[in-house]
Symmetry: D2
Subunit: 393 residues, 4 copies
């Protein structure tokens, strides 16, 4: 890295009890590219401080609020402030937090979905452009090396003309009214005000991005059969979509958080005229390629025959599995190297630009809104709607 | 069996080059319950005779046509004629052949889909009732022992309240315009006149029956996104359906014959409030049960803990796999024992009545017609339609 | 088949309660090549007759003993007697039964292990040669199409120079002193007088044959760690062997019948300089090929890229699984076609000669005896012994 | 942690081109428990410095040799020196490096095998006791959460009385004479002077430790069939062992580095009277439990039903896979927390003592030496030898 030091990051959210905050910290630091130097970990000032100290941070940089952090860090000497803010709050806060830091010139790494309204998402697109910052969205599933290889195979035409995509994200953890028990994750993720949407936002948007990343095509039409299976739940928890992509590719996307017994089954199949691919996140070190003639091949992460894109996203030889943290860290590594280059006043390496951006974020929010619009009254089954969307570049 | 001899069957269709005829013969005879004594194997009289002789049949009972066979057998002495006709012609002939034999009092075992029109299907329902014959439809996938166990688990409430069904039948063998090459199977299966429908009829109807068999519920509404991927093909080859079952269960059914690289992937998932099931035909000796709490269980065919229904449909201990022929033979065994009882003037064993009937056939044809109606213009994406149907019992 | 009729077979053993008799009958008849016309199913004359009648046999040909059957059939007119006897008694009877039929000129299909002593085995070799009959031994696991393909790959040099073989046959059904409960199968299979050996004979000999069939090499040295885990058991129930094959190939063969929780795990790995193969009987429709460079390939039964030997041993297209009965029937089909040719006075098709013979039987019995000799006192761990053996051809 | 800061570590070895150094650094830092502050990364002083600087280390602490580092760090103020040295050199240097640091009172984390002679291993045992330091050996495979759960199940008696262990570690990367190409890893790992042994030391010792860790029993007798498959190779590359454990448990351990096509297949099966376990490192998030009655269970990492030992070794919910780095980090986390407690003058948490120690290291070296002794002349097949060993505690 041109910077001659680790990238310095601060974190908003991710305090005690948060699942995703610790994931981001490990992902950020796995490759020795970044160090945490500041944080506003909780809306409770005391908790934020105590938590930051448990991470050996300077107490002065354990802020009581994101506003205080944005101002405090901006007031520090240029080489001594954070380079980038990592936003891991509930969804409804992403926009205002991101805005506060972008307007002070900080780069941003933000969890998904990016915002709870398309208006906010598009506002962020404009802000990112206006202030010239780097904005990375942590669609971590596209960080898996074999997902990158799948994308490379599609791009190389190995599958021939694409015909059909089947993508799903199936979980069971919200199979009961867990939110009524006060469980923290369930609480905010099923609150329309804080989450925006339910399964569609929390996991459906991952599925949409995963498919789009691999096939390199955008959805043009959709019909979303949006449902709420658990009585009393205020957001969708099961959604089944029929899709058309650019070029007429047919698609099925289904997601559920009430599929009892399932853990975190996000999987993708892509069918083309010359063969097909299948990948499942719960078994991430294998990619199944079925050529139209000849036996199925099991491609394994770390193998020498993989594409450059997959090779550079791997740290261990084949047979030594990598998994969730490493994939997450791949999103971070590219984003951090890009940010380091920009902080150093250099041009980022083109290969490092392979991470989801603010435009992916806007596309994801548009997907969620369109699906909810298509779905109409919950349980009605939905109707076909136009789903074309081009984020302002 | 009460009959004191094997059931005697004749076959219509299934001559040289036919895939499914040999399957039916093996299935019929696997358990020593039936013997082939007559046939009209081809519309070419000479071919029919030569083929029958290769099976060591009496040349006099190798008929030049189904009409000749129906008449010829009916003219024989009661104990010396066939008990049942097995119909394995292309779909468009099922109705007339079945009718000819039913009207002469013969029992019928028929391949699916039962007919190419709902009117014909309902006519067969009436004929079966009128003539009091047994009519079995070879939806062979519901013959697998672990499918029977899945049905038993659902019926016992082990999954709790059902929520969602995901069923698919995915193949790749029609991924090119194979019918233009003159390949016999592709030729008639893509001809609207002989097949009725394409993927929906050939494999989608299997998927529909498999799900219905297991969950014991009927579809009430559907939206079918029916497509033809291969240019010039005259029938559908890819269809994706959203479903509602009685009781509000949500469903996805997708089928394709253009999914390059896939072989014969018919699989089913059923999600309930207390757990879920997953089964795939390409790995038929394992049934995955995911209870809502506790580890996934892999139930294996032949195990002592399985339901009576599964146990009586198995011939080998666990670890000694059974497969396609044996499942097919399970449909036959129940149908043949039922027929033997009726021929012998006895009441069939209730357990033997577990085979698809003419009413399942009508339901399947209604499913196909409804899906095509929902699909509308090919490629339009389809719209929601009422799908309730109760065959005349 | 040149015979113009089905091969007629009689069965010795395989009456009520026998597992393997029904397997043989289904295997013999699956392809329409043979019909059962006589039997001595039990040493109890009444049971034999009742059982034969349940199979719709002529009561006159339901014999009270194998001697009566040998004499009775020999006394019938040439075209009206059995062509071949199928022997499915406990092991200790194989020799005398086989001898009685061979000496009357009948062909023989016999379950394994062939005999309980090498002297008997070699005597059978001589008798077979002397009387010019066909003798087939039902090592059914080498009947699986993908095992045949594995053999073809090795023969074609696809794996390069062979290095190592790992073969196992692991079961758990004798994990308790089941023989003390009177369970029929356990009773005779753990009786040294009737079974000869325990796990080594019952399943270890299958593993030995499977490996030898695929790699085409014979064992030259071995060390057998033979154990009896269940107190009081009179035969070995767990044996672990180190091997050397011709050409220096290193080998591990392990078998167990006390491996709690296992069903019927017979699997084989072959490593060569250019790649390796892995196959497991519980998942028989897949063969894993790992080339030294490039991704693992999953070869599937029924695929067009398979060898001729695999293709001719398959009945269904890929994705439509075949299993235990069909593999067993492949041994039968080759043996029956060979017998039919000989009965018709013709030369058998060379491709049909692919079935285990009396010499394989002698090799298997030698293997068992050598392993027991190497093992020495049970539990001692065993010592290296010469294991070369060439059956008199 | 009681220390109020991260543990400070220095590294010996692990410079440019080393595979395992980067693994150790990621493992050490994954949980925010340690920071790298010094290193002697290469025997080339300039390379060591450059490499250390690339890691943002203080150039003054990038030492030209391990001796300089031991002296230099010992000369620093108590709170400002390293707490622990991490040794990742080729095997033959472990002893002298460890000794240099132990004698100065530093704690040690060392890669395996611990030494190249048992005498050195036992000397280290005495030094560790004499100087009262903590010594951790990175047998990383026992760091996998489901391996810990397997151990807990055995300890709880869930498998009943143990009967048999089958453990293997199979690789193919040394399937050609890679060492002749100058490839760095192959070069030293096949040099008897630097590696000590070949496959037995590099991977066989992992397999031995994995099995011993899970079953809690030590080997008492063994026979090792030690081979060198690649002509000209100076160490063993394929070894197959028969074992007896305390209590009479029968064992098979096999390892190979010439198994073409294999990646890093280390797997373990444990059979007991009440059930069996199976785990494979290439699919580390699943543990298969086969109870003697009832279906196989697939236990998944991160599930609430797992043992405390497994739960505390996991960071992500089930369905979000963890893998090699995380398992490695589990060894580190326990060792680092123990070291932190000792540095802080406190008693370590008993649960943190779950990491391999110097005594495990001596046991491993004894295993290697005993296997080589049993094996005798390469290719002879080996003979049974006493293998009891109790490291001085």
């Amino acid at each position: 890295m041109p910077l001659g030091r680790k990238v310095k990051y601060g974190m908003v959210g991710g305090g005690p009890g948060a699942f995703i905050g610790a994931v981001h910290r490990r992902a950020a630091e796995l490759d020795g590219l970044a160090e945490l130097v500041a944080g506003a970990f909780s809306s409770d000032a005391q908790k934020s401080r105590t938590f930051g100290e448990s991470l050996h941070l300077d107490p002065a940089r354990c802020y009581p609020s994101y506003e205080a952090m944005a101002e405090g860090e901006a007031a520090r000497a240029p080489g001594d402030r954070i380079d980038v803010v990592v936003i891991v709050t509930p969804n409804h806060l992403h926009y205002t937090v991101a805005r506060a830091f972008i307007e002070r010139g900080f780069h941003v790494i933000c969890d998904k979905p990016m915002t709870t309204t398309l208006a906010d998402a598009e506002s962020l697109c404009r802000l990112v452009e206006q202030y010239g910052v780097t904005f990375a969205l942590t669609h971590n599933y596209s960080g898996y090396p074999l997902v990158k290889h799948a994308k490379a195979m599609v791009a190389a035409g190995t599958l021939g003309a694409l015909r059909k995509v089947v993508v799903e994200y199936t979980q069971g953890w919200l199979g009961t009214a867990l939110e009524e028990s006060g469980q923290k994750q369930a609480d905010w993720r099923t609150d329309p005000a804080r989450a925006g949407a339910g399964a569609l936002g929390d996991i459906g948007s991952h599925a949409e991005q995963l498919a789009r990343y691999v096939i390199g095509q955008r959805i043009t039409r959709m019909l979303a059969d949006v449902g709420t299976v658990i009585p009393g739940r205020r957001v969708d928890d099961d959604a089944n979509l029929l899709l058309r992509y650019e070029g007429g590719v047919r698609g099925i996307l289904h997601c559920s958080q009430v599929a009892s017994g399932e853990e975190n089954r996000i999987s993708l199949r892509v069918y083309g005229s010359e063969g097909s691919l299948e990948w499942s996140q719960e078994d991430p070190n294998r990619l199944f390629f079925r050529p139209v003639d000849g036996p199925m091949q099991t491609l394994t992460r770390g193998s020498g025959y993989l594409s450059t894109e997959a090779q550079r996203a791997t740290r261990l030889p084949s047979g030594h599995p990598e998994a969730f943290f490493e994939a997450f860290a791949n999103v971070y590594a590219n984003a951090l190297r890009t940010i380091a280059a920009r902080v150093a006043g250099e041009t980022p390496d083109a290969a490092d630009l392979d991470f989801p951006t603010v435009h992916d974020g806007a596309t994801g929010v548009h997907f969620i809104e369109t699906a909810l619009r298509s779905g109409g009254t919950v349980g009605s089954g939905g109707h076909w709607v136009d789903a074309t969307y081009t984020p302002s570049a």
